[in-house]
């Protein structure tokens, strides 16, 4: 599928376009993708937040993204949900 969309700092899975095949879970190099049923309690708020990315009008945008039918055509959307945007930046060694 092509259902993983790029925000500004995070990636979001379009719930209606995802087919539940699970191919992305082992493919993610930082183990950041969980099947909804396996999501640890501490991350549960991301279920709704992930959905909000598509259904809410995000800062700097005029309308929600909804279901564009393919992430590649959209490219980098350039906005995040308020939850993701609120996370402090982490120091990354390069």
């Amino acid at each position: 599928m092509d259902c993983i969309y790029e925000g500004a700092r995070a990636l979001y899975i379009q719930p209606d376009e995802c087919i539940d095949c699970g191919a992305c879970v082992p493919a993610c190099p930082v183990e950041a993708i969980y099947h909804q049923d396996d999501l640890p309690e501490s991350l549960h708020r991301h279920v709704k937040d992930n959905e909000d990315f598509f259904t809410q009008t995000l800062p700097g945008k005029s309308e929600p993204l909804h279901s564009p039918g393919g992430a590649k055509r959209i490219g980098r959307f350039g906005a995040d949900t308020p939850l993701v945007a609120s996370y402090p930046y982490q120091e990354v060694e390069t």
Binding site: E17, G22, A23, C24, G69, K72
Partner: protein, 488 residues
């Protein structure tokens, strides 16, 4: 001409004339590279998607031996997983939007059309033919009536035309499924689903009738190795635990995780998820549901019992060794079952005239480039999907797999820069001359509409038409002369 020579010829004196730039059509447009994809399953159609994204000047013909696209999405993924089947929304895009992509169905590679034909008429060929056969157990009794390959059952419940004349009598109570992969889970799950659940799927009507009359109470899933060695993906395994109609029965002592296994689990979240699920199921009390699925680890079938038909299976207990292998302990147990399915792996078959690695049951390749017996690229032949990597991964796995193959193909095409000049109608003329009853995308859409309409009337997503003759008729394909003329 041997394949080695053909490389030398093309490189050295260019029997295919080398062009410094792509040749032009009569109206001055650059001639596009013409590519053939053999197999319209997910691997083949992801390859088409990748080709269209990466290259503007290509046209693609997608061949399939059936008049229907989607391969295992239509005929492999279990009917109760319509969410995963919805990937067709993406896979169909190329045909719906692009006139330069043609579907040429009901054409069997090696029978109706050969490797030589394709290499002659196309600038490159991608084999996306999947794994058409399945492994056997190799034990006595395997051919008794009541013993089947899982694929026979999967073909049947999914309405594959190969299974149009096949019937399963589910008027038995105890069934064994041998194997520890997602296909084994699919088969076990379909066997214990309630008729009402099956009725919400797209199975053919006669399949639904068979499930309505099922007497099955217990399904025994038999795995040779331990829970950490099982090939289940967590999504599929979870489906077993959530069934409204069946309890999961696991003996806690069989959810055996060795010290070595613990190390594997610690670095693999999918394995951790699986083991956690299995341990939870082993602990939780049974709820007295109508049916049961028993998961048995570390058991190897050594003989299928019965004189005239399956009456049971003799299991030997295995013990784990350090290297993820197992050894029989000699301890035997007879399990009384009336039916047994082996689900120990699909296997690709050799395609006529195409290189094949018998030991690994794949088409030998380097990054998708088909290799001959000397390990050299056969030139303009490529492979993707299960024919390339073996029967592993899920639908989406094919996306990156096909992208790799297409990347190799386009790099070679750019370097070669020679276009063989066959015109789009030539391959259709060749098929017509051979009296091949090929179909096109519009034909499929007719059948698709018909099946969807049947489903609408029954409140189901679709009702599949399972026999080839009806499929062709409903494709409005009777007037063969006017068919498949979606030429550019």
């Amino acid at each position: 001409m041997s394949r080695n020579k053909s490389i030398v010829t093309n490189n050295a004196n260019g029997s295919a004339t080398p062009f410094s730039e792509p040749p032009r059509e009569a109206d001055g447009r650059a001639r596009s590279a013409r590519l053939a994809v053999v197999g319209a399953g997910p691997a083949g159609l992801y390859a088409v998607e990748s080709l269209l994204e990466s290259a503007s000047g290509v046209s693609v013909d997608v061949f399939d031996r059936l008049p229907t696209p989607y391969g295992l999405v239509r005929y492999g993924i279990a009917p109760d997983n319509q969410k995963m089947k919805s990937v067709t929304r993406v896979l169909r895009n190329a045909f719906d939007r692009e006139s330069k992509v043609r579907f040429i169905g009901n054409v069997c590679f090696g029978v109706d059309i050969s490797r030589t034909d394709l290499v002659k008429h196309y600038d490159a060929v991608i084999y996306a033919t999947g794994a058409q056969a399945e492994r056997r157990l190799g034990i006595p009794g395997e051919d008794l009536p009541g013993s089947y390959g899982a694929k026979q059952f999967v073909d049947w419940y999914n309405g594959h035309p190969d299974a149009a004349d096949r019937n399963f009598h589910l008027n038995v109570r105890q069934v064994a499924v041998v194997g520890a992969g997602n296909v084994a889970l699919d088969v076990a799950r379909m066997l214990i689903r309630s008729p009402d659940e099956i009725a919400s799927t797209d199975v053919p009507d006669r399949v639904l009738d068979t499930f309505r009359n099922s007497q099955i109470t217990d399904v025994h899933l038999i795995a040779r190795r331990g829970p950490v060695q099982a090939k289940f993906t967590p999504v599929e395994l979870r489906g077993i635990g959530d069934l409204v109609n069946a309890d999961v029965v696991i003996r806690p002592e069989e959810v055996l995780v060795t010290d070595d296994d613990e190390i594997r689990i610690s670095s693999n979240r999918e394995l951790r998820t699986n083991v956690a699920m299995l341990r939870e199921w082993a602990r939780r009390p049974l709820q007295g549901k109508a049916r049961r699925i028993h998961i048995r680890f570390l058991r190897r079938p050594v003989r299928i019992l019965g004189d005239n038909r399956v009456e049971g299976v003799l299991l030997e207990s295995n013990e784990q060794l350090a290297n993820e292998q197992v050894r029989g302990t000699g301890s035997l147990e007879a399990l009384k079952v009336d039916m047994i399915f082996r689900s120990v792996g699909y296997q690709a078959l050799r395609l006529p005239d195409v290189p094949f690695d018998e030991a690994r049951s794949i088409i030998p390749h380097h990054q998708g480039r088909v290799l001959d017996e000397n390990g050299r690229s056969t030139d303009r032949e490529y492979v993707t999907g299960w024919a390339k990597r073996g029967p592993s991964g899920t639908v989406g796995t094919n996306r990156s797999d096909s992208a790799e193959t297409v990347c190799s193909l386009l790099a070679d095409l750019a370097a070669r820069g020679a276009y063989n000049g066959s015109k789009p109608e030539q391959i259709l003329t060749l098929l017509s001359n051979r009296r091949v009853d090929y179909t096109n995308w519009a034909n499929w859409l007719q059948l698709d509409d018909h099946e969807t309409e049947l489903g609408r009337r029954q409140g189901r997503p679709r009702v599949k038409i399972p026999d080839l003759r009806s499929m062709l008729e409903l494709s409005h394909h009777s007037n063969a002369s006017g068919s498949a003329d979606k030429t550019d």
